[in-house]
């Protein structure tokens, strides 16, 4: 589909997946991971995407320009575990055409 972007997601087992993510379905990165079942149900997106758990934490590996963190994402990451400088919450990253080539790695499950 022409409105899809190509992104790479490394799952929690270290396996790399090259997938196409739609930009026209208001999907965020956490939802893309779930739709491709790259992490077991019940281990990702637990709060439903409200930045109230850190189950969709991922490390951004590419230098893709992403929207700035909002306060609630910043606050949640400050209480999450396994946090690194490139940590983001997948549920707060809406998939847009600018994300072509994005590469992320899922953080370990807590």
């Amino acid at each position: 589909m022409e409105q899809d972007v190509n992104i790479t997601i490394i799952d929690r087992e270290g396996v790399s997946h090259s997938i196409e993510a739609p930009t026209d379905m208001a999907m965020n990165l956490m939802e893309v991971v779930r739709s491709y079942e790259l992490a077991p149900e019940g281990t990702i997106g637990i709060c439903g995407g409200m930045a109230m758990c850190a189950s969709c934490q991922c490390y951004v590996l590419s230098d893709t320009a992403l929207p700035e963190k909002q306060d609630d994402e910043e606050a949640m990451l400050s209480e999450a575990f396994f946090v690194k400088d490139n940590s983001r919450l997948g549920c707060q990253i809406q998939i847009t055409p600018e994300m072509e080539g994005l590469k992320v790695q899922l953080a370990p499950a807590e």
């Binding site: 077991p40 149900e41 019940g42 637990i46 709060c47 758990c53 400050s78 209480e79 575990f81």
Partner: protein, 353 residues
């Protein structure tokens, strides 16, 4: 021993609506929940957030939905065992089940309905190597009895409401309270943040930010924690204490239910969706977010539907062979177990003069 008709595990929206549907069939319910209050995720995670897909409610706050469900089922007098987690289930010779909680409370019912959502909420434990060694020896993830901290030195870690509120509370009880958080900003209610600031200025709370507890010291019990505050002081330092209380919120875990011999798929309980949401163990049903079947959607409104059909099967199990016909509440009214009756007003027949 608490005896009831339907024992519901989980007091979220699906569990609460089950009480109403069961009540219409004259079946009594008792609910167990690991959280100290009813409402499940709706009250624990997002009470102030709106939900837009509850039929007939264009918008309702999750906390208000819980209050409405409690009000709707009130006349069926549900029993509650709150703050306790369902731990074991044992089938009895008469076909009933005995469910025992982690605190030893026993419940007996012919039908068990698991409406456990994502599982029971357990405290998130920080990743400190030797923390397990100090559990109940000075490390507590939840404050149950504040009195044990009287005249003790306490270190609290976390940046949310519970960390702030307990720091405030314990500043009057403990001999010393230290609050450690990874950032300078806290995300609690504004007045809690201000109160902590005030207590800090008065020297009643020792605030260390941005910092992190990275180790625990002691032999048989906690004697100090190791604090890393790299941004300001390149070297880790120790804070002497009797108790270390990490308050990093709760996260749901399927927990002991996973060991009840139920068929589990994708962290959820497999059920028969062609009929009544029964599990592989007859008499045990799973409804709401906790179950899975082809095409499952984790929506509150789907949980309501599942609860309604489940109650029909529960009726058959509890009243074998007994006749039953569906009644509309508009026609039949609602007779509460508390003696109340709700009914549609009778139409008045009046002839023209």
């Amino acid at each position: 021993m608490i005896k009831t008709d339907i024992l519901i595990i989980g007091a979220g929206p699906t569990g609460l609506f089950t009480v109403f549907e069961a009540g219409l069939l004259k079946l009594k319910c008792h609910l167990i929940d690991a959280l100290p209050q009813a409402g499940g995720q709706c009250t624990e995670l997002y009470p102030k957030k709106p939900i837009y897909d509850i039929p007939a409610y264009p918008e309702i706050l999750a906390g208000d939905l819980t209050l409405k469900l409690l009000e709707q089922c009130k006349q069926f007098e549900p029993g509650f065992t709150l703050g306790e987690r369902a731990e074991t289930i044992e089938k009895q010779e008469d076909g009933s089940f005995i469910v025992t909680t982690n605190k030893g409370t026993q419940h007996q019912a012919p039908v068990v309905a698991i409406a456990g959502g994502l599982g029971s909420f357990e405290p998130r434990k920080p990743l400190i190597d030797n923390i397990a060694h100090f559990e109940d020896k000075g490390v507590e993830y939840m404050i149950k009895d504040p009195e044990i901290y009287r005249d003790k030195k306490v270190v609290i870690a976390g940046g949310g409401d519970s960390a702030l509120d307990w720091s405030i509370f314990l500043s009057d009880v403990a001999s010393e309270v230290t609050l450690i958080h990874r950032r300078n900003e806290f995300r609690g209610h504004l007045d809690s943040v201000e109160k902590v600031q005030e207590l800090k200025n008065q020297g009643k709370i020792n605030l260390i930010t941005p910092a992190e507890v990275v180790g625990i010291l002691g032999h048989d019990k906690v004697q100090a924690v190791v604090v890393s505050q790299a941004a300001h002081i390149p070297k880790d330092f120790e804070v002497e204490c009797d108790h270390f209380i990490p308050l990093f919120g709760l996260s749901p875990k399927l927990g002991p239910i996973a060991n009840w011999g139920l068929e589990i798929e994708k962290n959820a309980i497999k059920v028969d969706n062609s009929l009544d949401y029964q599990t592989n163990i007859p008499g045990i049903f799973a409804i709401g977010d906790v179950n899975t079947y082809p095409g499952k959607l984790k929506l509150i409104l789907c949980g309501f539907h599942e609860a309604t059909l489940m109650c029909q099967s529960a009726y058959q199990i509890i009243n074998p062979g007994k006749r039953y016909v569906l009644k509309y509440t508009t026609v039949a009214g609602v007779d509460g177990f508390d003696g109340t009756r709700k009914e549609a007003p009778k139409a008045v027949v009046k002839a023209f003069d």
